[in-house]
Symmetry: C2
Subunit: 202 residues, 2 copies
């Protein structure tokens, strides 16, 4: 088994932190996006989307999509539970993880892709759309700050996959135009809490 | 238990088809987006995102996000399985469902939101971004057409939640600028197959 990985990728980091929380270690092969390795035919045969991470099984089966990989390991190694322990809790953590993806991660990525010089010539950039999403990130951070007024973690009293998604999004946002404003004190308290875990730099 | 629902919404339709496939019937309360009911304080207290569907439990608990709701019912009513039956199969169906969301549903929605007169004055429109996403939809439909050359359904031999996501996306795409081109014969065969199920108009 091995993981096709990407050093600074947001999604690969989600899986690395998840595996570290579970105490699971898997060999990684790092794909060099700067050299276009992820768009080479050999890699597109592994994942036609050209994205990382991908889990490769010993029989040659490939599993893409971060949350699909995390869910696979959650079933095999249920401790510590990161997707919840009861039917309702699992559904609620799924809800919070999706809100973190759709309301936080997605617009933070859009700000990066559409407003940052890094992507010039690599992907179509529409700065006006980047600005629309930048306003959305600010609005959603303010909402999340209110949500975190009365609980330590995104989905409640325990650290879950929803925290992993959100912390990786904000780590990317820090250097790409979506830094958490200083007055969002609940959000900053939460970010300091989750990024001080021993797994945060996995 | 009841469902806050929206007649023509893509996501509410996903949940309605899912429940129909399971043979589950839940009372619906339709929220009138045209009258702005989803942005009223009473509804924002139910879902701060202002989106449908939301499942309301008898004790007043709310569960938002279509796939969270579907997953909740999958656990309680495993037959027929729509998320897979083994650990690997569940992970693969999760992968395919996410690909359908990220590579098909999301750009189809973007084409609708950014290029259609319906949204003028309702949401910020960036036509240039709509055109970027329109090119992406075409490219992704061609990819999906190739994938469907050797299997009947999105994730393999059985109808799953990944088909539900994709069929609802293409139903929306039909009238909003993302119709499946005639020459993508595998994709058209699949679309005819899934939309001829008795549950397709749920």
């Amino acid at each position: 088994m091995k993981l096709y990985d990407l050093k600074n990728g947001l999604n690969p980091r989600r899986v690395r932190i998840f595996l570290a929380e579970k105490g699971i270690s898997i060999p990684s092969e790092f794909v060099d996006m700067m050299k276009g390795e992820n768009k080479a035919q050999t890699y597109l045969a592994i994942n036609p989307m050209g994205l990382m991470p991908v889990l490769e099984f010993d029989d040659g089966t490939h599993l893409a999509e971060s949350i699909a990989i995390c869910r696979y390991f959650e079933e095999l190694h249920p401790q510590p539970p990161l997707f919840g322990t009861t039917t309702l809790e699992r559904a609620q953590i799924e809800m919070w993880n999706r809100r973190m993806e759709l309301e936080i991660q997605l617009p933070i990525q859009d700000v990066f892709v559409h407003l940052n010089a890094f992507w010039a010539g690599r992907r179509p950039q529409v700065p006006e759309y980047g600005r629309v999403q930048q306003a959305r990130v600010l609005e959603r951070m303010a909402w999340l700050n209110r949500e975190l007024a009365d609980r330590p973690y995104i989905a409640g009293d325990h650290y879950t996959v929803a925290d992993i998604t959100a912390q990786c999004a904000f780590v990317m946002g820090k250097g790409t135009g979506s830094k958490i404003p200083d007055d969002l004190t609940n959000l900053i308290r939460w970010f300091d809490l989750v990024t001080s875990r021993p797994t945060a730099r996995a």
